[in-house]
Each structure stands twice: as structure tokens, then as C-alpha cells.
């Protein structure tokens, strides 16, 4: 993590307060206000500056404050901590220990950001500016070489050269399918039709994913600059940034950045005096998952219902209003300026043979450090989960990781050392998708997980084509009966065959991938399905219909905690004696288990149900 490069003179210290959505919802703005007040109170306003930055990625630990130039990392800072922080760090000149990050299972705090595992193994290209500049100030972006790539392109490169450079870099789309970006641009440039359009896809409908939001919030200008370069290469005059309505901060920052860029002559007519014209409009999406699919998204921009259509014709031939249209993901666009600036060779030196550069993942689930991580392609799952993510909490065992959003596959432990790129993930039945990564531990029931994801995709299916609309519905129905203990012989085979057919016969990417969670869990965790179907057992003790709560008479001390809390009064007994659960009254809410004091641990789950 490099410090602020061109620190304006006069300030001894910068305090960077994270203003990403995660930290803001943890009241980071109140912390910022308090810091400013405290600094004035102490008369330090000419020496110390407080800056609101974009997301730092380590949202779980928010609100985050970073003291520069020493990059001391403070976490979970509250309003009450402010006087202490100012006193220690600013007045006494020593790091405020109590606010530092202490890794799980360790006792010694780590002061420097770059020493923290979560940051140490990351490689920031797209997120290079995260947390180091004020996203609402174009000058800061410019101070970090912003719009230099644009200048270079407009003054010294032909559109063909730009396309050539992007092709050479090997950049592939970060929105899901991983199509070669340079090739897409070339096709769009060559397509007949006028005018041409470009689109930035910031729909990001995957639940739990927020990489695009984060880029738009933390560094909107890098996306705008990428689009400008793309527009020049393709020959487009008009672009759209499609952001979902649920991202008000991203919308605000992008709109603000567009306004500033126009004021600086970087957008609009005759950009930088070169005669190149380009305009960008922000379109706010109404939120369905399927609206992220490119043809549906274009329909939505045109003001129609967001439903996919068949391809070909591809958007590069017939896109918005039937004109050639190039659509790329937010992250793809944000990669463009730095590729131009540092060269295709530099970019292609990072990553694997067919997947170059970095990818941002949103790391969530049963993992110690949740948050956004940007890693080079080719890193292994193990490195992400253990080195960056800090492993699984409570000493639980790792079970699987699901990548690629709700229609990605679940990858088992045996592939933890898989170097990740587009191809390797597809090979094991999952996908890169837009970069969701959900870690699951031993307490996760894979049947239940598969059902959960499939239920999401089937609800979000646009309903246009039969295989997706009805195939996923049948699959959910079968999974429902399996977790309810009504699974039948042949259900597994039926699930598999429907799944394969839905993948083959569906119209758009949603249906073509939706069965992945089911197919991969059947492939890697078949015994769990068989236990559910044949033995009516849920080995992970999750599926309600297949488990029962019981009280171990050896361990029960008759403390009455369970009986007092049971909502259906299913637990009977006498104080100081052994209690018993009446299974016919038990609704399996699990309250008894959670109230039984850990020192007794008398309530247990058993499978199959009694």
C-alpha cells in the first residue's frame, strides 16, 4: 500500500476516514465530524487534515480510519474513541494501540496496513485509488495520474492502436462471461451502423456482491476515463452508466464526477481540444437480478421491461435502439486507463496464461475477514480463504466455497489449491461470474444451500423461456421435498437431467447457469443427498424435517432454562431433575439449544428425526 503520493504541502498528517457504504452505515460520518471538531479543539487544523475516502474493503472492521503517511490502520473507531485517537496519535505521536487490528487467534495488534494479512496478499490495480483519494474531488484523481491515459490516447494513439493495446493486454470482461474486451471493441468498431453506444454495466444484482458499487463509490473517475478511452476506440459518442437504484451513494458520486469531468473539459464536446465528443448519461435500474444481463439491460435503458432476448444478433451488431453497442462491466472499464498508462505488457505479466490482471472478489460467509479483495488471477482459493480471509471462525472445518454469484458452483476442499481463473473455475463446475465468493463451513448442509441458491434464481428468472422458468421450478420442488424428508428414488437422477437440460436449452445466461449449485453439490457432495433421500438424515443437522432436538440426560442439570423459553411448552420436568422434550409438541425452533448454558451443553440435535 503506497502512501499519498503528492501530498499537498502544509499538512503533516492525513486522516483517511472510510466513507464506503459499509462504514457509512456504521456511522463513519459521525466519526469524521468528531475528528474534525477534536482537531480544531486541539488547534491542529493547519497540520492535520481529515478526508473521506471510498471503501477500504475491510468492511467488517468499519468504521476504518487510516493515518497517513505512516499508514496506521485503525478499526471499529467510534465517536467515543476520537479523543483517545487524537491524543495518542496526533499529540503524543504514538499509535493508538487499542484501536488496532488484532487477527483472530492472536494477541498482538498489527499497526501497519500493509502488514495485515487481509491487505498484504492483495494486488490493487482496479482499486488502486481506494482509500487514498477523495472520490468527490477530481483534482485528487488527476493528482494520481488521472486522465493521463486519456490524454495519451487522444494525442498519440489511433483508435486501432488503442484496441490493439487492449487486445494485447488480454483483458477479459469482469461481468461474468469473460469475453475478450479488446475483441469486443474491435467487433463494435467494425459493425455497420451509426451512432454507436457504449454502456457501463453497474447493475450488480448478485446478492452480497458489492465490488462494482465500491469502484463507483471510491473511484468513479477511473470508470469514466475507461469509458472515454473505449468510446474513442470504438467510435461512440454516447455512453450510459447503468447503476441500480439501491446504490444511492454510487449514483451520487458518479453524477458528481460526471459534472466535474464536464467542467474540466474531459467530457462533452471537443474533449481536451481534440475534436472528440463524448457524453455520458446515468440510468438508474429498478433492481431485478436479470436486468444485469446485457440484452435485458439494454431493453431497460430503452424504457422497456428488462427481459433478455436471444443472441445473435449480439449487442455489438444490434444493441441499443438497434445500433452497435459495446457493453462492459464497471470493473472492466476501470482496468482500461491503467493498461493504457502502464502498457499491455505490464498488465499481461500479471495473472495466468488466459486470464490476465486481477479480479475483485467479495469474500463473505463463514470466514474471519469478510470484505472486498482484489487479487491477481492465478492465486489459489486457499490463499484467499486462509491468508487474506483469515480462515474459518470458531475452529470449524472448511467445507466448500461458492464462487460466481447465485448461479455459481460449490467447490469442495480438494480444489482449494486450484489457481483461479476463468477456465479453471468453469472446469470444476463453477464460474468467475462477477466475483462473489461465499465460504461455507462444516455446519452447512449442501442440499439446503443448493436449494437456497436455486430458489433465488428461479424467483429472479424473467419468466420468458420455458426451460428456465419451469425447469428451475421443478428442481426447487424436488429439492424441497428432499429437505422435507420426502425425497424419492430417482430424484437425484431427475435433478441432474433437468439441470443439464435447463443449462442447454435456456435463452440467457441466467438459465444457462442457474443449475450450477445443484449440479456441483450433487457431484461433490452426493453422499449428503443420498443421506437425505435414503436415510432421511441431514448430516450437517440443518434440515428441520430431518432433525430432532433432544436433551442428554447425562448432561442435563435441570436448570429450567430450556423449559422456561420453549414457546410451545414442549419441555417438561422438575427443577433439578432431568428435562425431556415432547417431540410431538416441538416445532424445532432451536431456542432450547441456544439457551442451554454452554457449560452443560445438554441440548443436542440428532438426525434422523425421532
Amino acid at each position: 500500500m503506497s502512501g499519498r503520493k503528492k501530498k499537498p504541502k502544509g499538512f503533516r498528517l492525513d486522516l483517511l476516514v472510510c466513507a464506503g457504504t459499509g462504514c457509512v452505515s456504521n456511522r463513519s460520518f459521525i466519526v469524521k465530524d468528531a475528528l474534525e471538531k477534536e482537531i480544531v479543539k486541539r488547534g491542529l487544523q493547519d497540520e492535520v487534515r481529515v478526508i473521506a475516502t471510498g471503501c477500504q474493503g475491510f468492511c467488517e472492521r468499519g468504521p476504518i480510519v487510516i493515518a497517513q503517511p505512516d499508514e496506521i490502520f485503525y478499526q471499529r473507531v467510534t465517536e467515543k474513541d476520537v479523543p483517545y485517537l487524537v491524543e495518542e496519535h496526533l499529540i503524543k505521536g504514538r499509535p493508538a494501540k487499542k484501536l488496532m487490528y488484532v487477527p483472530e487467534k492472536e494477541a498482538i495488534p498489527i499497526p501497519r496496513m500493509s502488514d495485515i494479512g487481509f491487505f498484504k496478499h492483495q494486488r490493487l490495480i482496479v482499486l488502486r485509488n481506494r482509500g487514498r483519494l477523495d472520490p468527490e474531488n477530481i483534482e485528487e484523481y488527476i493528482a494520481f495520474d488521472g486522465y493521463e491515459a486519456l490524454q495519451k490516447v487522444l494525442t498519440s494513439m489511433t483508435p486501432e492502436q488503442v484496441i490493439e493495446e487492449i487486445k494485447k493486454s488480454g483483458l477479459r470482461g469482469r461481468g461474468g462471461a469473460g469475453f475478450l474486451t479488446g475483441l469486443k471493441w474491435e467487433l463494435c468498431r467494425a459493425a455497420e451502423g451509426h451512432p454507436k453506444y457504449i454502456i457501463c454495466n453497474g447493475d450488480e444484482g448478485d446478492p452480497g456482491a458489492f465490488m462494482d458499487r465500491s469502484v463507483l463509490e471510491a473511484d468513479p473517475h477511473s470508470v469514466i476515463e475507461g469509458m472515454l478511452i473505449g468510446a474513442y476506440a470504438i467510435g461512440a459518442q454516447k455512453g450510459f452508466i447503468y447503476v441500480r437504484k439501491e446504490y444511492p451513494l454510487a449514483v451520487k458520486r458518479v453524477q458528481h464526477a460526471l459534472k466535474q469531468a464536464s467542467e474540466y473539459g474531459l467530457l462533452g464536446e471537443d474533449i481536451l481540444g481534440t475534436g472528440f465528443n463524448f457524453f455520458i448519461e446515468v440510468v438508474q435500474g429498478a433492481g431485478a437480478f436479470v436486468c444485469g444481463e446485457e440484452t435485458a439491460l439494454m431493453a431497460a435503458i430503452e424504457g422497456r421491461v428488462g427481459r433478455p432476448r436471444t443472441r445473435p444478433p449480439y449487442p455489438v451488431e444490434k444493441g441499443l435502439w438497434g445500433k452497435p453497442t459495446n457493453i462492459n462491466n464497471v470493473e472492466t472499464w476501470a482496468n482500461v486507463p491503467i493498461i493504457i498508462l502502464r502498457g499491455a505488457d505490464w498488465f499481461s505479466s500479471i495473472g495466468t496464461e488466459n486470464s490476465k490482471g486481477t479480479k475483485i472478489f467479495s469474500l463473505v460467509g463463514k470466514i474471519n475477514n469478510t470484505g472486498l479483495v482484489e487479487v491477481p488471477m492465478g492465486i489459489t482459493l486457499r490463499q484467499i480463504i486462509y491468508d487474506i480471509g483469515g480462515g474459518i471462525p470458531y475452529n470449524k472445518k472448511f467445507k466448500a466455497v461458492q464462487t460466481g454469484g447465485p448461479s455459481g458452483g460449490c467447490i469442495p476442499e480438494k480444489y482449494l489449491d486450484l489457481p483461479i481463473d476463468y477456465e479453471s473455475l468453469t472446469e470444476v463446475g463453477s464460474m468467475m461470474g462477477s466475483g462473489g465468493m461465499i465460504v461455507m463451513d462444516e455446519d452447512t448442509c449442501m442440499v439446503d444451500v443448493a436449494r437456497y441458491f436455486l430458489n433465488f434464481t428461479q424467483q429472479e428468472s424473467c419468466g420468458k423461456c420455458v426451460p428456465c422458468r419451469l425447469g428451475t421450478k421443478q428442481m426447487v420442488e424436488i429439492l424441497n421435498r428432499i429437505v422435507d424428508g420426502n425425497g424419492k428414488d430417482g430424484d437425484l437422477e431427475l435433478l441432474e437431467s433437468i439441470g443439464q437440460n435447463v443449462k442447454l436449452a435456456s435463452l440467457c445466461g441466467l438459465g444457462q447457469t442457474a443449475p450450477n449449485p445443484v449440479l456441483t453439490t450433487i457431484k461433490y457432495f452426493k453422499e449428503e443427498y443420498i443421506a437425505h433421500i435414503n436415510e432421511k438424515k441431514c448430516p450437517a443437522l440443518v434440515c428441520k424435517a430431518l432433525i430432532s432436538y433432544v436433551i442428554d440426560p447425562e448432561l442435563c442439570t435441570g436448570c429450567v432454562a430450556c423449559a422456561k423459553n420453549c414457546p410451545t411448552m414442549a419441555i417438561t420436568g422438575e427443577p433439578k431433575k432431568v428435562y425431556k422434550i415432547d417431540q410431538s409438541k416441538c416445532i424445532k425452533c432451536g431456542i432450547c439449544l441456544s439457551v442451554c448454558p454452554p457449560k452443560f451443553g445438554a441440548v443436542k440435535k440428532v438426525t434422523p428425526a425421532i
Binding site: Q459, C462, R469, L507
Partner: protein, 722 residues
């Protein structure tokens, strides 16, 4: 030319064609459900999938544009399996017992099924039985059972609209109806709602079709491959055994229709290449088969109607005509066959024609506007008429003929349904239409005129700017003679056979009614003013009139006789006999010929004068008659009979046998919606049901032309409660 290989054989194709186009042309079978030739391909049913070399997954032929060198397989085992899979999925929520039930053959011959199913649906209960495209495919694939649990969606059947019903439990979401409504009709009444497994077709906010401004054109019904959308009238009448092409004669457009018959009975009419309106699509069969049709000659014997033979009827008719000779008036309606009108003219020049009475010029101009594909940008101003209700087909044809959507402005003091679909609706005070048009079309400074605000005029002028303006008007509803502006005016009205009727030889019905020398009437498709009394009245028609008569001669409809008529554009259109006239009803021509044969003399000829321009006569306000009644041409009529009077569906969509009154006037007079009132003018008195609506301005009343009720022209009246 592009060459592609399908199933190992080479074919040439044109750029822009789809693989399905080529296969259809070359007779290569590919199953489809969501595809319909005249609609944009959809790609939703996934049945038309084909294998394309180099593509990882099958592609839908209906949406796949051909490309040089494409190598395609249409019938591999994988495709068969996927198609079968898809069909089985469709069946998992389409009540399918009819399709897979083992007793279906027995059932088809209408034998009772003794087994009781939890939810009963059987082929014989589905109106689409035998007509259903899904049924055909299931048979083709030999599907006997499906590996899934059937799920009945339990969607309430929509049976509250006239003409057709919707049971979306049968819907397979192919989207043909949605596309038909939007693409063929520009109506956008139905669309998809919700997503995922809850996806449904329907109107916005689940309104009834009436409230959603449906035109009831039936394009959606005709598009539906299943029984989800069904015409109510012929739901259980079975499949047609014969289809005969003829024309619709219910208005002056004269659309081509396919008349479907079964056992020599008309069971329905469907479009033949061009769109139809509600009259032509849903009105013809129920009207022709109507139980109230009179099928035997009737004689009025002291107030009692008795059935008589044709011989007697013709004798009586000719005796009456002999007796009254030059005191006889003959009035006929405009929608008879040319042949009938010609045979009537043997009677001499004494005929009066109902509904004629204004001067109309350059009728042929319609064609240049409507059918010539001009590159020009057009703006249409419609004055005083209901484009949607009366001439939806005409508007559609204009829209389709033009490259670019025309701007449509409606100027009409009476608010009709069209007001909601046009680009701008201006509502002048009644009688001020011409003033408003003049200011719209001039370059003078805009100012408030005839109840139209200055801003509205500015908006209208902006819409009209740089467009060629065409003024469409119904000469029966407005007199545009006073218009100062230079603008192309196109009259449009519902009268058929106009060139013959307008030849100058015939006089208007009014002349005959005003002639006190006339004591006997021979009426073919018209009524008499309510206050008038005649010594003898002969009626020749399909339905009984609302007034007293002496003799009734049952006539055939236009589906029951060969013949021809002339449409609005001056084209002669052929009519073919589709079915036999019911009972003893006979063709007009036959009746007239037989009467003439019995007359041993020629009726004397009289020359009646032709009076133009009566409709907009101004009368002085009169405290005795506080209301001004506006009367308009009713294009929902056949042979003088208002369709709403015989078919309830029409009554629900068209308030045409009602007197429209403003709510303020209504509450002052204490009249109630739907109740009859007495309308009294200087020369007539009549009882009419009221419709309270602010579609008509205060101080005015509105009604569609109805001779029998005396509602024939604009005049001052008063209203009395009964």
C-alpha cells in the same frame, strides 16, 4: 445470396432471413409454439432449437439470422430430447389431463368419463380442443406422462369482459397475444407481469379489458395457441368444417374476412390477412345466428302477428303497393348489395336513402393517404369522430403504411375513447370546432379560442410543425365548409355504396318523411320517425323493428347471399354466400323481384330534390328546449338496426343506444344512470335510456343516430323524467 447447409443439404437464403424462414420455405419441419409469422420472433418456447456447427449450445431457429456457411441440424437425438423436455415442462403447469389421459379417444367422442380427478380438466371441457397447438405437439411427441408433479396455478378465470374470456391457467406464456396486441394493433393492452414462476399475462393493474381500453379486435385471441384466450360466442361450437373468404359489410372499410362454418352454420369470423375491428371479428356470427332473427313472413292482423306463406306475403305486398301507387315511399339503408339497390331502382326514382344527406367530395383521396407509402411525416387532425371505436382499422392501416408514426390530434367536444390514445386531445365548445381548427392551422398569434387555451394551441402547433397535415372528419358529424385554412381534408364515414347512392338520382329519407302526400312506406333496413303515422307500412329486414307495421318480409344477411358492395375507397368488394338464410328468410333481390313480377304496372316516377348540409343546422335557443342535442353517425349498425340493441357485448363497449348527459345537468333534473327519460323536441318525442357522463359538456346532450328513436339530427330539446 447466402448458402447454408441444413441436414446435409445445401440451401440458399437471403440476408436477414432466419433459419426458421428457410426451413419453412423448404418444407423442413421444426416444431414451434411462440413463433407467429406476422410477429417479431421471441425465442421463448425453445422448441425450434437447432444445432449449429461451432456453437456450444442449440440455438432457436426462429431468432437465428442465417450466415454464410452455416451448418445446421434440425433433428438430432439431443434436440428431440430437449424439445420433449421443454414440452413436458410446459405440461407441468398446463392442465393436461386432456393431453395425456388414456381415455382421451373415448372422451373425444363425448363419452362420459367415470373417473373423478381432483381437478377436472379434460379436453372436452377446453374450448381449444382440436384447435390447440400444444395438443398437436404433445401428440406428435407421443407424450403419455410427465415425470413432474402437476401444479394448477389457480388463477381466477377472467370472464367479465364481453366477446372473449381468459383462463390463464392454460397460458403457456408464449407471448403471442402480447406481441399481437402491440405489433398488430398498436394497442398495448396486455403485457407480462411479475417474473419467475409467477409470470403472468394481463392488463396493467389487472383492470378489466374494457377499462384497459381494449379494442376487442381479437388479435390476441387469434394469436393464442392454447385455450387460454377464447371467443365466448363459439367456445363450444367446435371446429369449423369450412372456411370461406368474403368481406365484412358492417362498415365502409369492408375488410376481408374468413367466415368459418360448421354444418352450414356460421360459427365465427376471423381476419383474412388484414386486421378486423370488433364488429367484424365478434359481431357477425352472433348477429346472423341471433335468436331474434325473423325467419318467416309476418302479417299484422289487428295487432296480432301471424305467420304467413311467402305466396300470401308477396300477394299482400304487391296489393298494398298497387293500392297506394304514387302515395308510396320507399326507403332503404345504404348497406344493401349493389344488386339489390339496382333492382330497387326499377321501382323508379322514388327511393329515399337512410343516412344520406350531406355533400361529400373527393372520397377517393383516402386511398392516397392511407395506402400510398409516402416518405412524408404526417400529422392527422381528427375532428368530431371516434377513431378507435369507429375506424380503428383505418387508423391502423395509416400507421402501418407510413414509415414513421404519425402525430394524431383529436378535436372533439364530445370525449370519446380515442381521447386517451391520441397525442393531443383538444376539447372545444360544441360548434366552435371550425374556429379552433382555423387558429390551429393559421400562423396568427395563438389566443384562447372556442374553449381551447392558448398553451394548448401552442402545444398543438409544435406537434404539427414540419409535418403534412391531414384533416379527417366525418361529414355527418361536422360541417367543414366554413374552414378558411388550406389543408387537405379527408371525409371518413361509415356509409357503404356511396358512389351509387351519391349519384344524384336518389333523395334522402327526410324528403319522404316530409312529404305529406305519402301514405304508405316500404322500408328496407330503416325506421320511421316516432311521431309519424302511415296507413300502410311494409318492412323488409332481419330483425323486428321497434314500431308498428303491417307486413314483415324476412331478409337474408350479407353472409347468406352472393353479391357485392362498394367500400369507402370506391372499390367494389365481393360477397360470397357462406351459409343458407335461416328458415324462410330470402335474399332482398329475390323478394323485390317477386313483388315486381306481381305488379302489372310501373310505379310512377317522382323527382325528389336532394338537400345538402342539414346536419349542422343552427336553431335559436329556446327556453322551452334548454338542451342542444348533438347527434352523430352510428357506424355500429346493420340495416338500420343498432348492434347494441341486439348484442349485449356491444352495449357494454359502446354507449350508442343511450342519451349522454352531463352529471351537472343530470343531478339538476334528478335523472338516474341507466333509467329511461323522455326527450322532447319541436317535432318529436321519444323515450331513451340515459348515460351520465362528463364526456358531454353541460347544456348539451349526445346520442348516436337512431331513426326509430327520432335521434337523427342536431336539435334543441328538453328532457323529462318518467
Amino acid at each position: 445470396m447466402i448458402s447454408i447447409t441444413i441436414n446435409g443439404k445445401e440451401f440458399s437464403a437471403k440476408k436477414g432471413e432466419t433459419v426458421l424462414d428457410v426451413c419453412r420455405r423448404e418444407g423442413i419441419y421444426i416444431p414451434t409454439l411462440c413463433y407467429q409469422e406476422d410477429l417479431t420472433p421471441y425465442g421463448g418456447c425453445r422448441l425450434c432449437i437447432v444445432e449449429v456447427e461451432g456453437m456450444p449450445r442449440p440455438m432457436t431457429a426462429c431468432t437465428l439470422p442465417v450466415q454464410e456457411g452455416m451448418v445446421i441440424q434440425t433433428d438430432t437425438p439431443r434436440l428431440k430430447e430437449l424439445r420433449r423436455f421443454t414440452l413436458e415442462l410446459i405440461l407441468s403447469e398446463h392442465p393436461y389431463s386432456c393431453l395425456v389421459c388414456e381415455k382421451k379417444t373415448d372422451c373425444a367422442s363425448y363419452m362420459e368419463c367415470i373417473e373423478k380427478e381432483a381437478i377436472t380438466f379434460g379436453c372436452k371441457y377446453c374450448s381449444a380442443n382440436g384447435n390447440c397447438e400444444l395438443q398437436k405437439l404433445v401428440e406428435e411427441f407421443g407424450i403419455k406422462e410427465i415425470p413432474y408433479q402437476f401444479k394448477y396455478r389457480n388463477i381466477p378465470v377472467e370472464d367479465y369482459d364481453p366477446f372473449f374470456e381468459r383462463d390463464y391457467n392454460l397460458c403457456i406464456l408464449c407471448g403471442r397475444c402480447v406481441r399481437a396486441c402491440a405489433e398488430l394493433r398498436c394497442a398495448y393492452v396486455i403485457d407480462f407481469h411479475h417474473r419467475g414462476p409467477r409470470t403472468l399475462v394481463g392488463t396493467a393493474f389487472n383492470l378489466s379489458h374494457i377499462d384497459a381500453n381494449c379494442q376487442f379486435c381479437g388479435a390476441c385471441v387469434d394469436a393464442c395457441p392454447t385455450g387460454a384466450m377464447r371467443e365466448r360466442y363459439n367456445k363450444y361450437l367446435g371446429k369449423p368444417d369450412k372456411v370461406i373468404k368474403t368481406h365484412c359489410m358492417l362498415c365502409s372499410i369492408g375488410c376481408p374476412i374468413n367466415a368459418e362454418t360448421r354444418e352450414n352454420k356460421i360459427i365465427g369470423t376471423t381476419p383474412d390477412g388484414e386486421p378486423l375491428c370488433v364488429r367484424g371479428r365478434f359481431g357477425i356470427a352472433p348477429m346472423v345466428n341471433h335468436p331474434k332473427r325473423v325467419t318467416v313472413p309476418l302479417l299484422n292482423k289487428n295487432g296480432q302477428l301471424v305467420e304467413i306463406s311467402w305466396d300470401d306475403a308477396l300477394d299482400i305486398a304487391s296489393n298494398i303497393l298497387k293500392e297506394y301507387k304514387d302515395r308510396t315511399g320507399i326507403i332503404f339503408s345504404h348497406d344493401l348489395h349493389i344488386e339489390t339497390i339496382n333492382s330497387l331502382s326499377t321501382f323508379g326514382e322514388i327511393s329515399g336513402i337512410e343516412n344520406l344527406g350531406v355533400e361529400i367530395q373527393n372520397v377517393e383521396n383516402f386511398e392516397t393517404l392511407c395506402l400510398a407509402k409516402t416518405g412524408k411525416k404526417i400529422a392527422i387532425i381528427a375532428v368530431n369522430f371516434d377513431l378507435i371505436q369507429d375506424f380503428s382499422v383505418f387508423l391502423l392501416r395509416i400507421k402501418r403504411a407510413l414509415n414513421e408514426k404519425p402525430v394524431v390530434i383529436l378535436v372533439d367536444p364530445i370525449k370519446t375513447k380515442s381521447a386517451e390514445i391520441v397525442d393531443l386531445y383538444l376539447r372545444p365548445e360544441p360548434g366552435k370546432e371550425i374556429e379552433v381548427l382555423d387558429i390551429l392551422l393559421s400562423e396568427d398569434n395563438p389566443c384562447e379560442t372556442g374553449g381551447i387555451k392558448k398553451e394548448e394551441i401552442v402545444t398543438a402547433r409544435k406537434l404539427l410543425a414540419r409535418r403534412e397535415v391531414c384533416l379527417l372528419y366525418n361529414p355527418y358529424n361536422v360541417n367543414i365548409n366554413g374552414l378558411n385554412s388550406q389543408v387537405k381534408c379527408y371525409p371518413i364515414f361509415g356509409i357503404l355504396n356511396f358512389p351509387i347512392l351519391n349519384s344524384g338520382k336518389l333523395s334522402s329519407a327526410e324528403d319522404i318523411f316530409e312529404n305529406d302526400g305519402i301514405e304508405c312506406l316500404y322500408l328496407i333496413g330503416t325506421g320511421i320517425p316516432p311521431m309519424k303515422k302511415y296507413k300502410k307500412v311494409i318492412v323488409q329486414n332481419c330483425f323486428l323493428p321497434d314500431f308498428d307495421f303491417d307486413l314483415f318480409l324476412p331478409a337474408a344477411t350479407f353472409l347468406e347471399v352472393d353479391g357485392s358492395f362498394i367500400d369507402l375507397f370506391g372499390n367494389e368488394k365481393k360477397l360470397y354466400k357462406v351459409c343458407e338464410p335461416p328458415g324462410q328468410a330470402r335474399a332482398d333481390e329475390w323478394i323485390i323481384k317477386n313483388i315486381i313480377e306481381r305488379l302489372d304496372f310501373e310505379l310512377p316516377r317522382k323527382n325528389h330534390k336532394y338537400h345538402p348540409g342539414r346536419v349542422n343546422e343552427k336553431e335559436k335557443p329556446d327556453s322551452e328546449y334548454p338542451f342542444y342535442l348533438i347527434v352523430r353517425e352510428n357506424t355500429f349498425k346493420y340495416r338500420g338496426k343498432v348492434l347494441s340493441k341486439i348484442l349485449t357485448g356491444f352495449k357494454r363497449i359502446h354507449h350508442d343506444c343511450r342519451l349522454w348527459i352531463n352529471p351537472v345537468d343530470a343531478s339538476r333534473l334528478k335523472v338516474e344512470n341507466g333509467k329511461p327519460v323522455k326527450v322532447i323536441g319541436k317535432d318529436f318525442e321519444s323515450v331513451v335510456e340515459v348515460w351520465i357522463t362528463d364526456n358531454v359538456p353541460e347544456g348539451f346532450l349526445f346520442a348516436y343516430h337512431d331513426r326509430e328513436k327520432g335521434l337523427v339530427k342536431n336539435k334543441r330539446v328538453r328532457v323529462e323524467c318518467l
